[in-house]
């Protein structure tokens, strides 16, 4: 009973249940869903598909988790993706040899530098000028797509470049490259935040910025860092997304991904009020959202209803996680089996 309670009360319980229900429902409807087959040495199948499709959102959501942990939010990630795609693809298109690795690397480098500048700009507004994150990043969310259009000249630049395309559709060690990239970023972020003190310092700044500063924590630097990291991760996500279509569509790359990313973070149990964060939670949240989109087609629900379905899942998960419902459920359990109250020290 007690072990069960601990499991049910875990903040990832309901998101995991949602994930499981979606997967099971999909598997029931399409028995081959869980099958993994090998074709040309590459793995194919439902789970692999989920991983591949999750990569873009996971990258964005990872950066978003860190930003949210510092009490912030970054609305500009979608625009950053568009700019990243626009910069990389126009560079490649303009190069004499679009297919060469050097071209691709320098294009990616250029885009990363731009993303770095964007991250610095956002971080400057939040950490130095002291503007609320939501409004500071709204600036680039609005202007960013305009800038991306400016870069592409309003055209949808299409290019052919095998090395760049590999980012989205390539395979390595029989696994999709995109998923591997996202996985590597996930592991690296987890290691850097938890093996160093960065994680706890981010949380400390998120819980109480002024106390953290007085404790000697370089709060400003940390806030600045998370916005830069978030922009860089979004930039990489932009590469993968634009490599998918090989077209720099400034209007549509990463459109509304900031909302999905924030949802993934929240479903994963990180509070928008900042403080404690969970990267694993974000991973679960990302998988829930991706699986949701995927299973809708499998379950034969019209594609139009995706957002309706998404809304229902989000509302259900948020309600179940909400402090009020949790409290009620706990109260009911307490009535049946009273928990001894600790004596104050």
């Amino acid at each position: 009973m007690n072990a069960l309670q601990t499991v049910v009360r875990h903040r990832l319980f309901w998101p995991l249940v949602a994930l499981l229900v979606l997967v099971v429902a999909s598997a029931l409807k399409s028995p081959t869903f869980l099958e993994i087959t090998v074709r040309d040495g590459h793995l194919f199948g439902g789970p692999i598909d989920i991983l591949r499709r999750s990569s873009v959102l996971l990258l964005v959501a990872l950066g978003m988790t860190l930003v949210i942990a510092t009490r912030g939010i970054d609305l500009s990630v979608g625009a950053v993706m568009a700019i990243a795609g626009a910069v990389a693809l126009t560079q490649i298109a303009a190069a004499p040899d679009p297919g060469s690795l050097t071209t691709v690397v320098s294009a990616i480098g250029a885009a990363l530098v731009i993303a770095l500048l964007i991250g610095l700009f956002n971080g400057f507004l939040v950490a130095v000028v002291g503007i609320q994150p939501i409004i500071a990043t709204l600036v680039l969310m609005t202007a960013g797509r305009g800038i991306a259009m400016l870069i592409t000249g309003g055209n949808i630049t299409t290019v052919t470049s095998q090395p760049f395309k590999t980012l989205a559709s390539g395979y390595w060690l029989s696994l999709p490259v995109a998923a591997l990239i996202a996985g590597a970023f996930f592991v690296a972020t987890a290691l850097v935040t938890r093996r160093t003190a960065l994680g706890v310092l981010i949380e400390s700044v998120g819980i109480n910025p002024s106390a953290s500063r007085l404790a000697g924590v370089r709060a400003r630097t940390i806030i600045w860092t998370v916005y830069v990291v978030c922009a860089l991760f979004a930039c990489v996500a932009g590469f993968i997304r634009s490599a998918d279509t090989m077209a720099a569509d400034a209007n549509n790359i990463g459109l509304f991904i900031e909302l999905d990313a924030i949802l993934a973070v929240v479903i994963g149990g990180t509070s928008l009020a900042g403080g404690k964060f969970s990267l694993t939670g974000t991973l679960v949240g990302t998988l829930v959202i991706t699986t949701l989109t995927l299973s809708i087609t499998i379950l034969g629900i019209p594609a139009n209803a995706v957002s309706l379905f998404k809304a229902l899942v989000v509302i259900a998960v948020c309600l179940l996680q909400s402090p009020v419902v949790q409290h009620r459920m706990r109260a009911r359990r307490r009535r049946t089996a009273p928990v001894p109250v600790e004596v104050p020290a």
């Binding site: 093996r195 160093t196 003190a197 960065l198 706890v200 310092l201 949380e203 400390s204 819980i207 109480n208 002024s210 106390a211 953290s212 500063r213 007085l214 404790a215 000697g216 924590v217 370089r218 940390i222 403080g275 404690k276 109250v341 600790e342 004596v343 104050p344 020290a345």
Partner: protein, 554 residues
């Protein structure tokens, strides 16, 4: 209405019917039982003091009465009828109004609105602003306050805001007025005026529940008192029948001897200090609008006390030394070498640490564990890249939990759930773990119970004896005198004197330095100084008033 001689009350209360009866009240929070079967009665026409140490359950009881908390067990009766309030609005509707310690008003609104919100005068369904403002002004006038009702609340001092809060509480024609530490930001005149108003209300039959840390105020105002300790009821007494010493004993549950021993530590021995070179030297250090340029030397092994009224620049001085604010003139030398303290991190690098007076907002990281809080300073010093190894963290934490007696002794407890005194100890542990050379302590003993206070005082003395330099800020002059080797006196954001704390220095001497010039300064000094003096006088606290009064008596 203004007869101050009725202070101890002559009404035979027991014959009246209580307006509020609380029976067997229990309230628990996760891991803590805040109230355990407490009974409480409040009669019309009395001032009833609720006494107890921090964590005794005073505010919990008040919040149970005003509907902020729901009781787990027990009953609340108003006029003999059981009630269940689910919010302050309902309590107010039943005639129970509350004025909280922290001003709970909206400072983005005008004074008139803050008083009248929810009770605005309306005509044809819309607010009649001129009439509402007139009504607000009337309410202010009953408190002898002559404010412009149109002015924004944020443009007034805390003291004035507190009086506005009281005006608001009276708008509803309360039968029960709860005053939770209402005097903590008022000066002597304002306290006297408030007491006049409270007595007037009492004589009109209002039941007043009064909470204050200041025993003098409690004895001056209350008719009866209820004492709580650790969430349980100790007893209900007539103020006139309970001598102070007994009251304090009942509050802290210790014998008198222990108390006396704690209170009576001798003045520090100055010999401990290393006279060769000051650890820290401030030369003409200052910041515009914050503190005038000052010189200050702090030697290893000595405690320098900062004495002055609230707003005199005590905190501002310490913050400059810590780099929490930027100095715009002067220089700081550490061990003779000029240094730039642009951020707290930089000060930390020079082994200077600062414990803020605002424990909750600038000290504790509530949602981190005790361990993480203690290690935070050490971690900040090392930078994010080099995490403090778990084993070392455990060692450090175990050492200080033991040495400082942090309770609960559980490193994984959330720091936010600890009592004020234990949070203060956690903060001290955070700083001591970095092995500082200079410790800046801003009000380390404020709002914590007597036992913890004595422990912290002793710790400060020990640290200095071991060679640490300490700057000690406290509103309690006795405490400063008991601990310091030297005392720097501040007034109107300026360091005005420095004296060596020899045996013949008394609180009176310091009080003279602090107080003598307060009014004189405003009149005699140049136009610039006059302005500052007036604003400073605005925020004189009762703690300071207390000090002044003690000075008068001696």
């Amino acid at each position: 209405m203004t007869d101050t001689q009725t202070a101890t009350g002559t009404v035979t209360l027991d014959e009246a019917r209580p307006v509020v009866t609380m029976t067997g009240i229990s309230i628990g929070f996760p891991g803590v039982k805040a109230l355990d079967g407490v009974d409480f009665r409040l009669f019309p026409g009395e001032v009833h003091a609720l006494m107890g140490e921090n964590g005794a359950g005073k505010s919990t009881l008040i919040k149970a009465l005003t509907g902020v908390y729901q009781v787990d067990a027990g009953t609340v009766e108003v006029d003999g009828a059981p009630v269940t309030f689910t919010g302050p609005a309902q309590a107010q509707a039943a005639g129970i109004s509350t004025v909280y310690q922290e001003v709970n008003l909206c400072d983005n609104l005008s004074v008139a609105e803050n008083i009248m919100l929810g009770h605005e005068v309306r005509r044809f369904g819309v607010v009649d602003w001129p009439a509402t403002r007139r009504a607000a002004r009337e309410h202010l006038r009953t408190l002898d306050l002559d404010l412009d009702p149109r002015s924004q609340l944020s443009s007034h001092s805390l003291a004035v805001q507190q009086l506005v809060a009281i005006s608001r509480a009276m708008v509803v024609d309360a039968r029960v007025l709860v005053l939770d530490e209402p005097t903590s930001s008022l000066d002597a005149d304002e306290v006297a005026r408030l007491f006049d108003v409270v007595r007037g209300l009492r004589d009109r039959g209002v039941a007043i529940l009064f909470v204050s840390h200041f025993l003098e105020q409690v004895y001056a105002l209350s008719d009866r008192m209820t004492v709580l300790r650790n969430g349980t009821l100790v007893g209900e007494y007539r103020t006139a029948d309970l001598p102070r010493v007994e009251l304090v004993q009942k509050m802290i549950g210790r014998s008198l001897e222990v108390l006396e021993r704690l209170e009576e530590s001798p003045k520090p021995v100055i010999a401990a200090r290393d006279d060769t070179r000051p650890y820290l030297q401030a030369l003409g250090l200052g910041r515009k609008g914050s503190i005038e340029p000052f010189d200050l030397d702090v030697y290893a092994g000595e405690v320098v006390g900062l004495a002055g009224l609230l707003g005199s620049g005590r905190t501002e001085l310490a913050r400059l030394l810590y780099g929490a604010d930027h100095a715009d003139r002067g220089e700081v030398r550490v061990e003779g070498k000029p240094v730039r303290l642009r951020t707290p991190r930089a000060a930390l690098g020079h082994k200077i640490v600062y414990s803020s007076e605002s424990r909750k907002t600038e000290g504790i990281i509530a949602d981190l564990t005790v361990r993480e809080n203690i290690v935070l300073g050490l971690q900040a010093e090392r930078g994010w890249l080099r995490r403090v190894p778990r084993r070392k963290a455990d060692e450090v934490v175990a050492t200080y939990v033991e040495a400082l007696g942090i309770r609960p002794a559980n490193p994984d407890a959330m720091a936010g759930n600890l009592s004020g005194g234990n949070q203060q100890k956690v903060l001290l542990a955070r700083w001591l773990a970095t092995q500082p050379r200079l410790l800046l302590l801003d009000e380390p003993t404020r709002g914590i119970d007597v036992g913890a206070k004595a422990e912290i005082q002793r710790l400060v003395a020990d640290l200095a004896a071991q060679g640490m330099a300490v700057v000690f800020i406290s509103a309690e002059l006795e405490e400063v005198l008991r601990l310091s080797h030297r005392i720097a006196v501040l007034r109107d954001r300026r360091k005005v004197a420095e004296l060596v704390n020899t045996d013949d220095v008394t609180t009176d001497d310091v009080v003279d330095l602090i107080a003598s010039a307060v009014p004189a300064d405003a009149l005699a000094d140049g136009p610039g100084a006059g302005g500052t003096a007036a604003t400073t006088a605005d925020v004189v606290t009762t703690e300071d008033v207390d000090v002044l009064r003690k000075g008068d008596r001696a």
